[in-house]
Symmetry: C2
Subunit: 493 residues, 2 copies
């Protein structure tokens, strides 16, 4: 295990973990949402973030503090925790974001780490280069080298108990992201932000986010705590957690509020256009959109920020509950319906079902088949892999219906879309206890047919008959020719 | 328009309406959730239901009041509103539920209506027969006749300003449900409960619920306010509203709380097994599951009931917002992922896309393609119908990609799954401005191919070429043979 991170529960590649932050003397439960606190503008006081919203950690920007005369000396003398009046853990960013935005900053990794240490940061950040998504490969490689030098400088720095981030860059090149992840995991640094995702998230390019994060995760060790830098919209948190991200930060709650925007788990609304609040947080239970529009702007901004925080922390709790219950992929499936771009992200995630499978629990409460996409979940592929290991008799009937009262086969196995065939002995085991709709779709049938194919190919000597319940042509096309196929509907069963 | 009901906004078959309740002198906005108040046990005081949760109407049981010596005389002398301390509208049930549960009650429609009038009910109910779902047809017909006699008795009764329910029965026989709806709409009664749905809902038979309700709706007039009797689980409210139901009642909030159950929009949780509250209502923002388990049972029951009400009223507001925004079917699509049985319900609903289409607005903000099921939404079928009316030139290229820079066709039309082809002039109109995922699925391609087929069949003289972006075989099978088909991927475009 990585020194400061312990994983307690798994679901898909998501996990509930505990990040020990020694300098703050606190342990943060992950997935954790770090509200971004602008040291110049406290939209919601940090102490309230902790007591009312449950924030165990927040993030602020050491570069802004260092560059702002008005507050630098105060923070240096009081320390960050007293300055912000927050006794949880505080992570600080380094100015890399400013580097990406303005092209140049006047500080080195050694200097900013020393500054972060002096102001009392609990998790510090070196000056990495957040390479944007669509640059050419030369630039991505060159900037990655700079980032890796920053990590080396960070390793060399005197940081005491302070944890240090090891950002993973590499633009949109999966092999660079994977190599960057492997390199970062090889340092003795502590927390692993996947960086430069904001341009992709702002453009709703969630499939690209998935490709980059899954590549970084392939390089990182499973026990590395991963921070998806800049991700704070509740719509995408479940997807991000399912990939194995542990920390998130939200500037969105405050920035969106300033623009009159209202976050939900399925998108962003504009206060101006709202007739009803689809939420029952303390703000929404006590106000209507008209109330907020009528009051003064500062009040509306503050209340919107509070709602935005409530809905985001609510989603974090929902995600943790889903991991605990083994229903994280069902939650991702629901969230995928918030926007077609989220559906793209989910479809991209399922391209990596094998990667999710590695940590997905073998047994959970129940598998809910809730969409065509669910046919590609890791549990289905795992069952298909298992089929190759099962013993078969000489003559086997696979049937989607009840076994016939009399027959000449040596054994009868049930066939259940999307999993395919299984012997009776497995019928009470996960995922074969799945709840599936009565109106079966072609995706489930096709996955079941793939299961049949896998069984047939692993058992070339076994005579196999398949009774199916009106499967689609695309499913039947996948069944090997040597299987005798009966449509149970034709047989009147 | 029906006297007391006015429809303001439509989406699919759902609507926002205003039900005038003259005896209470209030107008109730629909969809409305009526908390069920047990006159013997006030889990949450009616006045709080109004002020804290926004209940404009509640429902209680006149048969229980009439049969309970302890309260009957008090209610008769004080009147129902003072007895309950509630100044919104009050609907009363008649004892039909007790009839269904216990087989016999000692009151006639004339008697119970008179009793309801005397206690000051605002919306009364005759003694109908809630025929359960799986009875034989003879019984369903016989009991429906009894229900229809009860409606005649209700029409004959002296009811003054009090509105009266006209329940629609018919068990699981769609033709009986439709006939019952037509008969009820032909009376001068006011509100139309679709009855005996509880056994189906308790068994998660949502597809059967959809068939029964859609059949009743075919018989009822569009301007009839419809009450889905016994439906109060937030998971299914969006589906029910999309079918055109306007009123709902929830006993679930209190009954579930008594059993330690916690409602969510995607199912029911058990307090005993919860680690986190996936909600930010005032109860969940202030407590953890452990807090509730540690306190005394009455407190836990009351707080669970309050949460259950919050999440239910929140969903009602979310549904109203969705109708206003034209995104109700997107919401139903999301809710369909809560349980495979909900997915069955949604798939059943889409079997009736034509029925939804009748009231679905021609123009909305944006169509979000968020699942394979979305390919069957009414907007897709409407576009296909429209294709038959469009003028075509002699030689037409349909292409999923950009038009080629040079070509010999008379015109080039875009093809967009799931809609199919359309001329440039329509490209900025709903639903062709749809947001669709980049990872297109076979369901969308097949629906687009159906659009091509409709255009081709309506224009037998037009030469048509189709350029598609790697469509699935199932989609290409639907394109008529006389269309010249190019796979744009092969052409390197």
């Amino acid at each position: 295990m990585r020194d400061h991170f312990e994983i307690r529960d798994h679901d898909a590649a998501g996990r509930i973990g505990r990040l020990e932050v020694p300098r703050a003397d606190v342990t943060v439960e992950t997935p954790a949402l770090l509200p971004v606190v602008n040291p110049n503008v406290l939209t919601v006081e940090p102490e309230r973030l902790r007591t009312e919203f449950g924030a165990e950690m927040l993030i602020t920007n050491s570069y802004i503090i260092r560059s702002t005369d008005r507050i630098r000396d105060r923070v240096l003398s009081e320390g960050l925790h007293d300055f912000l009046d927050f006794d949880g853990a505080i992570m600080t960013d380094s100015g890399s974001f400013q580097l990406a935005e303005y092209g140049d900053i006047d500080v080195t990794t050694a200097e900013i780490l020393e500054f972060q240490r002096r102001i009392g940061s609990d998790v510090a950040t070196p000056v990495d280069v957040p390479t944007p998504p669509d640059v050419d490969r030369d630039r991505a490689e060159r900037e990655l080298e700079t980032t890796e030098r920053a990590l080396a400088d960070a390793e060399a720095a005197e940081t005491g108990e302070m944890l240090v981030n090891a950002p993973v860059q590499g633009s949109k090149y999966p092999d660079l992201r994977e190599a960057a992840g492997r390199h970062a995991a090889g340092t003795d640094l502590d927390v692993f932000p996947v960086g430069a995702m904001v341009p992709l998230m702002n453009a709703y390019r969630y499939a690209d986010v998935v490709e980059a994060v899954m590549a970084a995760k392939r390089g990182l060790d499973p026990d590395c705590p991963v921070h998806l830098f800049g991700a704070g919209h509740p719509m995408m948190l479940a997807l991000a957690v399912a990939m194995g991200c542990d920390l998130f930060d939200s500037a969105a709650y405050a920035l969106m509020a300033r623009d009159g925007r209202y976050l939900t788990v399925s998108g962003t609304e504009h206060l101006e256009e709202m007739s009803y609040f689809p939420c029952s947080c303390p703000v929404c239970a006590d106000h209507t959109p008209a109330d907020l529009r009528e009051g003064d702007d500062d009040r509306a901004e503050r209340l919107l920020a509070e709602h935005n925080l409530h809905v985001t922390f609510e989603e974090i709790r929902r995600i943790k509950a889903a991991i605990r219950d083994g229903t994280l992929l069902e939650l991702v499936d629901r969230r995928a319906r918030g926007h077609p771009a989220m559906l793209d992200g989910y479809r991209a995630l399922l391209d990596h079902a094998d990667q999710l499978e590695a940590t997905d629990p073998v047994s959970k409460d129940a598998f809910f088949y809730t969409s065509h996409e669910a046919a590609r979940r890791p549990e289905v592929g795992r069952h298909h892999d298992r089929l190759a290991w099962l013993e078969t008799p000489d003559d086997l009937l696979l049937t989607e219906s009840k076994p016939p009262s009399s027959h000449d086969h040596d054994a009868v196995w049930r066939v259940k879309p999307p999993f395919g065939p299984f012997p009776r002995a497995l019928s009470e085991t996960y995922p074969l206890t799945a709840e599936v709709p009565e109106r079966v779709d072609a995706a489930a049938q096709t996955a079941a047919a793939e299961g049949v194919r896998r069984l047939v190919e692993a058992n070339p000597e076994t005579a196999i008959t398949l009774g199916h319940d009106g499967w689609a042509e695309t499913a039947l096309d996948r069944v090997p020719d040597r299987v005798a196929v009966d449509d149970l509907r034709d047989l009147g069963r």
